[in-house]
């Protein structure tokens, strides 16, 4: 997916940069001019379901408070089919609302469907809602595409914790030292 598409569909990075700007703000921006795009896109990614997602936080995320999040899915498929949406909370984030998958009948290109989910976290930090979409089209094929919705609670450092020791080797290169299993 390229920067271009990012602006058209899932500009979720906005939520990271502006954690306070939440309410009723659609996280979708459509460029008014193509000059924003640049002359050539350079990001080439893996195949996936032709689905785009937008989200909107309904209130300011707070520790221990339920947070409603509107999810809007757009079919980019020219084929009709069934869109299945599964949602669960990432580490540290609890999904309060119904956990069962939801199916949507998709008939047309650019057709949208919505779902509201409620989440809750008991501490401050950066958390993600995991959204797994599956589009089964009329040609009996299915594809998946996953999304994550960032939820920043509080003004805390959200830098990732290294999984091992960050050291320098003999050449000065940074290395991430992880433990090996010793095998007899």
């Amino acid at each position: 997916m390229r920067e271009y598409l990012k602006k058209l569909t899932i500009v979720v990075a906005m939520a990271m940069m502006l954690p306070m700007a939440y309410a009723n703000e659609a996280k979708q921006q459509t460029p008014t001019t193509t000059s924003e795009i640049g002359h050539r896109e350079q990001i080439v990614g893996k195949p996936g379901a032709p689905i785009a997602m937008e989200y909107s936080l309904k209130s300011m995320p707070k520790k221990g408070k339920d947070l409603d999040v509107d999810l809007t899915f757009t079919s980019l498929s020219a084929l009709p089919g069934t869109l299945t949406v599964k949602v669960h909370g990432g580490r540290g984030l609890r999904l309060v609302s119904d956990k069962r998958p939801v199916d949507f009948a998709v008939q047309n290109l650019n057709e949208t469907h919505g779902r509201t989910v409620t989440v809750n976290a008991n501490k401050q930090g950066l958390f993600y809602i995991n959204v797994i979409t599956k589009l089964t089209t009329s040609d009996k094929k299915h594809r998946q595409r996953t999304f994550a919705v960032p939820i920043q609670i509080g003004q805390v450092d959200s830098r990732p914790i290294p999984p091992g020791k960050v050291l320098e080797d003999s050449t000065g290169q940074k290395i991430m030292s992880l433990p090996a299993e010793e095998i007899e």
Binding site: H39, I132, E168
Partner: protein, 752 residues
């Protein structure tokens, strides 16, 4: 100084253009050879070198040792000489002449370029004796003494190991006694000096002089000088094998549920970590590298280290080789300063005998595989970087099998457990999706959402984009895509190529991408399937299907062709890279048929079966008739725009989606006869809503210039152009289902 009369021998090497001989094409060749024989040497063009075999050659002849490297024609472009120490003369070797360990050989090439070469072989044979200073044994080299008192005799010898040995550690045996080099000199047996040829003159070393201490390195040949005190005795060099640390490196490979296409934690196996860098690290400071090597194709390694030293083994998530071929593939943590992943064993003492250290990279899954939580991992995911490298190993080894001299551009792969499908700050893991951009791979690692480290096909798909960008060419505009989409032709080819390549490199046509809770879900793409939704030149599904059919040996449908990878690779690194048109199925198939005329009919059958007109195809797709059931503004694929001629009217459409779908971009060709400044304009002629057109100019895939102003409904591009065919691409922001424009080149403004 020694005199090299032999070098003036008439040696008429003609500057022929060489066709490099293939290196041994087995997948295990490079890694196996490195473990036993070191990483090879580079012979500088038009310079003599004294060389040796650092291992026992598999085929111990000139042909077997050297001719599998790209030297060219023997005795025309390169030659090998041996030293006859008895007669003190040189012998020109022929291809069947033996190559012995412990002997030095003169080697020269005038092929026009430096040549990376190596020896394929097995571990150097050792002998054990009381005089040998290593508990592991020594290699013996018998020396020739001078003919009579008052004379000296030089012997040209070769270092027999892939590891460095100090000259001071060598022992000289004369009769029943053994000596250090310094003692041997004192006893008038051997000078303490050794001579190494540096390409133009000799450098001298000994065992005691600071700054001049001799070290015997892999592939080194050198001279020693026997003194007359050795007359009447059997004199031998004992070159010690240094202390060893050996073992196997493995990683946990999480298996696959072929029904759900997700990961199966009840099926975790340990696979060899191949061609990864191993280091013995000094435990005294946790930094100094005591020895280094790479694992072989079985994950085995051998390190030569000092005895009785505290150390630990470090495995780097890096596969690297210098010279030719060359590569440098790493896995780094984009969320922690791009630190290179390593795994470290526990501290041990090397002692005086062989130490075995087998290390495994654990997956981090520790739970009940029949009841996996939403997030599967509870421990450090050490295996992931090595699983990623293994997918890349399969890929580059296949490329090397096709072209053994390939030099790969360094490729960092950014992977982290924090890498989530959110576009944002990559330093905290918000990478959007697994993708290739700006010379790097970014791979998802979000447990319970989307992890790709065990998805070989996904890894190779993305590596395929690296391949296109570095070995071939891609004009793809990128963006979201799926097999049933009708895409821009450049996207269709690039993505279809990535999918097909993943099948070719794994010999498995089922692409699988795992994701979801417990990483247990996923979806497949069968790149062998001939039935494609919305087939055509704009379909990645069609591209992947026909490319895989051209590759594989399974006949299905219209597929009776089985080219294998090499002919496909040759086109990708050849004509597909230089085509004047955009990179597409048209440029590829046109070149493939030209290079394989005997297969043209069979190729046509495969291509035609995907609703692409193949029989009359050219790189422009000028005879293509598939216009999606009569949809306007799909054909022609390219429209000629004459300099100074009439305006051409073209329309963008969005009925197949956006922004990288069919006819979102329209293509024009401009044949520039005279270099100079030109003005190109696009003016909207129809379309209800205001639009914002752009003009982008390429030549042979290279971006020349563009104009992307925000001016409503029209665009002007002033460009300084050289002669030749240019591609002009028109696009807009697709505010209308159809928007049409007059495009015109208003003519040369100022001749250059």
């Amino acid at each position: 100084m020694l005199h090299r009369n032999m070098i003036v021998k008439s040696f008429l090497l003609v500057g022929l253009v060489m066709a490099p001989l293939a290196l041994n094409q087995g997948r295990v060749t490079f890694a196996d050879a490195e473990a036993q024989c070191g990483s090879g040497a580079t012979l500088v063009n038009n310079q003599w070198a004294i060389v040796s075999a650092p291992c026992a050659p598999t085929t111990p002849t000139v042909q077997g040792v050297f001719a599998d490297d790209p030297f060219g024609t023997y005795d025309t472009e390169w030659v090998v000489y041996d030293r006859d120490e008895v007669n003190e003369s040189y012998i020109t070797l022929n291809l069947s002449s033996p190559i012995l360990q412990g002997t030095g050989y003169w080697l020269k090439s005038i092929s026009g370029s430096n040549i990376a070469w190596d020896v394929d072989g097995t571990v150097t044979p050792l002998v054990n004796s009381a005089a040998c200073p290593s508990s592991h044994g020594c290699f013996e080299i018998q020396l020739i003494a001078p003919a009579s008192a008052g004379l000296k005799r030089k012997n040209m010898v070769g270092h027999p190991f892939p590891d460095t040995v100090p000259w001071a550690d060598v022992r000289i045996v004369a009769g029943a006694n053994s000596y250090t080099p310094a003692q041997a000199a004192t006893n008038n047996l051997l000078t303490d000096t050794i001579w190494k040829y540096n390409g133009s003159s000799y450098d001298t070393y000994d065992s005691t002089t600071p700054g001049q201490i001799g070290m015997l390195n892999a592939y080194d040949g050198f001279w020693v000088e026997v003194l007359d005190g050795a007359i009447g005795q059997t004199v031998k060099l004992l070159i010690p094998k240094k202390g060893n640390v050996v073992g196997k490196i493995t990683f946990d490979q999480v298996g696959r549920n072929t029904t759900t296409h997700g990961l199966d934690y009840c099926s975790i196996t340990q696979l060899p970590a191949r061609d990864v860098i191993i280091e013995a690290i000094d435990a005294a400071n946790n930094t100094t590298v005591l020895a280094s090597a790479s694992t072989d194709a079985n994950g085995d390694y051998s390190l030569a280290v000092e005895e009785n030293t505290n150390m630990f083994v470090r495995v780097k998530a890096q596969m690297k080789r210098t010279g030719m071929p060359s590569w440098d593939f790493t896995v780094v943590d984009n969320t922690n300063s791009k630190a290179l992943y390593t795994m470290d064993g526990t501290q041990f003492n090397s002692g005086t005998s062989v130490v075995t250290k087998n290390l495994n990279a654990a997956s981090g899954f520790t739970g009940n595989c029949n009841s996996v939580g939403t997030q599967a991992y509870s421990a450090t995911r050490v295996a992931a970087p090595f699983a990623i490298l293994d997918a890349l190993y399969k890929s580059y080894q296949n490329v090397l099998a096709a072209v053994s001299t390939t030099q790969f551009t360094a490729l960092p792969t950014n992977w982290s457990v924090n890498n989530v499908p959110v576009w944002g700050d990559k330093t905290i893991g918000q990478i959007g999706t697994s993708h290739y951009s700006s010379g790097e791979l970014f791979i998802l690692g979000a447990d319970g959402n989307d992890t790709d480290e065990y998805d070989d096909h996904v890894m190779i798909h993305e590596w395929g984009h690296y391949y296109e960008a570095n070995l071939s060419r891609s004009d793809s505009i990128g963006g979201s895509h799926t097999s049933s989409d009708r895409l821009d032709l450049t996207v269709a080819f690039g993505e279809g190529w990535g999918n097909a390549l993943s099948g070719m490199m794994t010999n498995d046509p089922i692409y699988r991408d795992s994701s979801g809770a417990s990483n247990a879900g996923g979806f497949p793409i069968d790149v062998e399937a001939n039935t494609v939704t919305n087939p055509g030149w704009y379909s990645e599904g069609s591209v992947q299907s026909l490319l895989y059919d051209l590759f594989d040996s399974v006949n299905d449908g219209m597929d009776t062709v089985a080219l294998g990878f090499t002919p496909i690779h040759q086109i990708m690194i050849g004509q597909q890279k230089t085509t004047t048109a955009m990179t597409s199925i048209f440029s590829f198939i046109t070149a493939l048929k030209a290079a394989n005329p005997a297969q043209a009919t069979a190729i046509n059958n495969v291509v035609n079966a995907q609703s692409i007109v193949s029989d009359t195809m050219d790189e422009w797709g000028s005879t293509e008739t598939n216009n999606v059931s009569g949809t306007a503004n799909v054909l022609p694929i390219y429209t000629a725009l004459s300099v100074g001629g009439s305006a051409v009217n073209l329309c963008t459409i969005n009925q197949f989606g956006s922004p990288n779908k069919l006819s979102n971009y329209r293509n024009l060709t401009i044949d520039v006869q005279t270099a100079g400044s030109y003005q190109i304009t696009a003016t909207k002629t129809s379309g209800i809503f205001t639009t914002d057109p752009d003009l982008i100019l390429y030549k042979q895939g290279a971006f020349i210039t563009w104009s992307g102003t925000a001016t409503a409904n029209n665009e002007t591009l002033n460009a300084s152009l050289q002669t030749g065919t240019h591609i002009l691409r028109l696009r807009d922001n697709l505010t209308n289902s159809i928007s049409c424009y007059n495009i015109q080149v208003t003519g040369q403004i100022t001749p250059q």
